[in-house]
């Protein structure tokens, strides 16, 4: 008899069992839906956390203030040497005029300051280089490099008035700590929730198959081979996974749509609905593949227990 006929028969019994054991199928699907929802939730919250951390990192920089007498070429020397550092992600140059314009913009509601500024004949502000590091932990190394430049007496170094890293050091250190802790905590929570929900889903399927243990015994007795016994239960497990994945993916649409504006307010720029829409193909693949793998593997292991020689 061909393998194809066997596969067709196993698949048919899998579908029939799934439909006829409606109540058991429903319970398994409900539990797996919760598991897959937790999984999708973990993916989304991980993305939200990462987006927030990236955003926070972007807000941190070190400013190099130059003396008002610094020439453009001195500033460009420092800019080039900074850009050559592997730790540096971006260096932005603001000329004296830019710095003045930014100052005016920042204090536009502070008439007293603006008046004081107007009374000065000359622009009191020096040019500024804003340095952004690849990691927040690297700012100290950059600040030390600038100190060395200043101390070396090189033309560019001599033009540096001050570097604001040391004023910001506590905030930067704290942020680095928060980022590290959030990442570690996020991984630990994801791991814990992931394992717990997988175990619950596995146990539910095991219970579903426990109710069919006599049936498995009868199949053994009439001489069915292992795959003929196991196959329909594995098909059932796959169907639990597919049904749960479809429910989760459908539920995520209204859920993320509802949560979208709130998430944007809370995280800054991260909108869960946009994330759901933009990453739907990969979300679909991961949720569906996890559901199928969880269902099939749980069934495989659960049936193994009742298969005799």
């Amino acid at each position: 008899m061909s393998l194809w006929i066997n596969i067709k028969r196993v698949a048919r019994y899998g579908f029939i069992g799934f439909i006829r054991n409606g109540f058991i199928s429903l319970s398994a699907i409900l539990i797996m839906t919760i598991t897959l929802f937790v999984l999708a939730g973990l993916m989304i919250s991980d993305a939200a956390l990462n987006a927030t951390l990236v955003q926070l990192k972007e807000k941190v920089d070190v400013n190099v203030y130059f003396v008002t007498a610094a020439t453009e070429s001195q500033i460009m020397d420092v800019k080039k040497s900074l850009e050559a550092l592997p730790e540096v992600a971006l260096v932005t140059y603001a000329s004296r005029d830019d710095a003045l314009a930014q100052f005016r913009e920042r204090h536009k509601n502070d008439q007293l300051t603006i008046q004081a500024l107007d009374e000065l004949n000359d622009n009191p502000l020096g040019a500024v280089l804003s340095v952004r590091a690849k990691e927040t932990s690297q700012y100290e190394a950059i600040a030390k490099f600038l100190d060395a430049q200043q101390a070396s007496g090189a033309p560019g170094g001599a033009a540096i008035d001050r570097v604001n890293f040391y004023q910001n050091q506590t905030a930067i250190d704290r942020l680095t700590g928060i980022i590290d802790t959030s990442k570690r905590l996020g991984t630990a929570i994801a791991l814990f929730l992931g394992i717990a929900s997988v175990l619950i889903a596995f146990n539910t399927i095991r219970l579903a198959i426990y109710t069919a243990r006599d049936e498995i015994g009868v199949m053994n007795l009439v001489g069915a081979n292992r795959w003929y016994v196991r196959g329909p239960f594995m098909i059932g497990g796959v169907l639990y996974g597919v049904a749960s994945a479809v429910i989760v993916l459908l539920l995520l649409y209204p859920f993320t749509l509802w949560l979208g504006p709130a998430s944007e307010r809370f995280f800054g720029t991260f909108n869960v609905f946009s994330y759901y829409v933009d990453t739907f193909p990969s979300l679909f693949l991961i949720v569906m593949a996890s559901g199928i793998a969880l269902g099939a593997l749980s069934s495989f292991l659960a049936v193994r227990r009742y298969l005799s020689k």
């Binding site: 008899m1 006929i5 028969r9 049936e215 009868v218 199949m219 009439v222 001489g223």
Partner: protein, 226 residues
């Protein structure tokens, strides 16, 4: 055809279920195994389809030692031994048709053969109109007849019946025994374990009596005597 060679079976708790049994059964025989509950009848039958293996001795089917069979050989052996039990052991989520078809499918029969054989065997056990019922919707007697149909549909050489009438009323008991006799007349070896005296006396064939795990009596044309 079947030979128990000095077979002893001791279960995990140290309980001797059968002890030093030597017994031969010829092809085409109808053997009734009788004895009190716990005499070892069921264990003797389980040894034949290798649901349990002997602690000592060997069980032969033809010339093959059942204990030494590979997985594949064991599956083929089981397809060649039909089994029926007191609790019917039907697949509850499958229809009568599917229950019987399942035994044919695992034996590798084609869909055409299955479509022809299932109605035929249901005719034989008197249930042609219950093909699409589920076991839960049938009476005990009807369920046992479905179990018999499943057991014989592959035309096995041996049919093992372990207390098949234990849950049945006298009329259904009579019907089941008549079906077993008919199957035996068609050439299948039947081994019936029972403690129903009237059943054994009505068959009037070989009776093997067991007590405390041993064969204490073997009458070629016997009656129920304990």
């Amino acid at each position: 055809m079947i030979y128990y060679d000095k077979v002893t079976k001791i279960y995990g708790g140290g309980e001797h279920a059968v002890e030093d049994i030597t017994l031969g059964i010829e092809a085409g025989e109808f053997v009734s195994l009788v004895g009190h509950s716990g005499a070892g009848k069921t264990t003797l039958l389980k040894l034949l389809f290798a649901e349990v293996l002997p602690t000592e001795g060997a069980v032969y089917f033809g010339s093959r030692d059942i204990g030494g069979l590979s997985n594949g050989e064991l599956l083929r052996l089981r397809r060649n031994i039909g089994t029926i039990f007191q609790d019917f052991r039907l697949l509850p989520t499958k229809t009568v048709y599917e229950n019987i078809a399942f035994a044919l499918e695992v034996a590798g029969k084609s869909d055409e053969d299955i479509r022809a054989d299932v109605p035929h065997v249901l005719d034989l056990v008197g249930l042609p109109d219950k093909m699409w019922s589920f076991p839960g919707h049938l009476s005990g007697g009807e369920q046992q007849r479905v179990a018999i149909a499943r057991a014989i549909v592959n035309q096995p050489e041996v049919l093992i019946a372990d207390e098949p009438t234990g849950n049945l009323d006298p009329i259904n008991t009579h019907d089941v025994v008549e079906i077993l006799k008919k199957i035996n007349d068609l050439g299948t070896t039947v081994i019936l374990a029972t403690h129903n005296k009237s059943v054994v006396d009505s068959i009037k064939r070989r009776v093997v009596t067991m007590d405390q795990g041993r064969v204490v009596r073997d009458d070629k044309s016997g009656k129920y005597v304990i």
